[in-house]
Amino acid sequence: MAQTIAIPGQLLGPSSKYVAGPGTHIHEANLYSSVLGTVTIAQPEKKIAPGPAKRLTKIAGLPSSSAQLPTISVSRTGISEKREVLPEVGNVVLCRVTRIQPRQATVAILVVGDTVLEAEWQGVIRPQDVRATEKDKVKIYESFRPGDIVRAQVISLGDQASYYLATASNDLGVIMATSEAGNVMYPVSWKEYRDPETGLNENRKVAKPF
């Protein structure tokens, strides 16, 4: 099926009918495309049959009518395989540790979500963001080593050079590590990896395997 093509600046519809998705922008109560691509309209998810009405324990905003509107977005799929994606706050990223310092671990962000990045972006993991508990006892060199592959979450756009990342969750942390002898290790606990050949343990902030 031929999809509708959108070019930048093309009118897509009034903002009272659709919710703006990726690749669109709103100008004077109308939705316009902002990238070159094909138009996709996603219908809002149908609410699952509501259970017994709960008593309101917190003040919620008025139920917004925009939740019921279909989302319109312009995607670049099919135009080029190269997709430029930036890490955003909240994204789970995969990165390689490039440098260890007592106050921070410097990483290179390789993958955002399920998109492999064209360019490498630099990130920083500070000791207070390594884990959620006993933050004051964290030592960076007992959590990461250069060359480790780490799953982390973006918590801030950071400073001029690097994004700030955190591994303060069970499923975040080192997912691939090599020992000092150069062997690929396997995790044995939440803070240790073991070398299968030498049998030695090394300290890491281990991500919980799925």
Partner: protein
Amino acid sequence: MADRRRINGPVGATTPPIFDKPAGPAAAKTRDAIRKIFLKTGITPSASGSAYLELENPNPQRPGNTSLKLSCTVHGPRSLPRSAPFSPHIILTTHVKYAPFATRQRRGYLRDSSERDLGVHLETALRGAIIADRWPKSGVDIISQKDDEGWDMMNVLSGCITVASAAIADAGIDCVDTVAGGVAALVCKDDKTAPTIVMDPVVAEHDSILAACCVAYLPTRDEITNMWFKGRLPGADMMVYDKLMEKSLVACRCANRVIVQELNETVKKGQGIS
């Protein structure tokens, strides 16, 4: 020692190729139309986005009068250099460069003041079109190169704006609209006849150009992002300034139609492959 950093032209004299039969005469350009534009996106595989533009040559018989050729590459969005301060929006850098062989007089490899001037104009024209805050902490480089000789600066600038707009759309950078460039000029034959306004002036065809105007225009928004006006207007007609502007806007609309068509084809081609 020989300069090994770049590929220099031959040292001695060379004989240019001579084509004995000129092509058939082109249709005479009417005053109310712009020259035909050839536009193609995705010509440089290594860049994030790229486009190539060629302007029809109205009188191909004349020697040394070749068509205007422009190529544009967009690199990015990519991370800023370490020394750059934090930026909540995209940093736009534009370069306009004449190829060394693009003009009669051979150009240097370094950008001179006129090229830098064109780069500033191009940056202003594009800045109004790009949604800069969609890409924090990143930079984009836009490099336009003029590959052939013989046209004045305003025509080059309007071509640069049009080709850069197509390349940015090809790179997938968020824009509010496809910006297009257009030129109009006030020309006169001699002192006796009244001056007339032409769209997309061919410099060689006119005896004297009194004033010229180059604008960058967003057609759906009906906004102008950049304007460059040069020359002297006769004092008798108060409206001539407005008329000149309007004519260049018409030229912009014409150029924009070419962009729209080429971008549509780009998407169709992409869908055909996938």
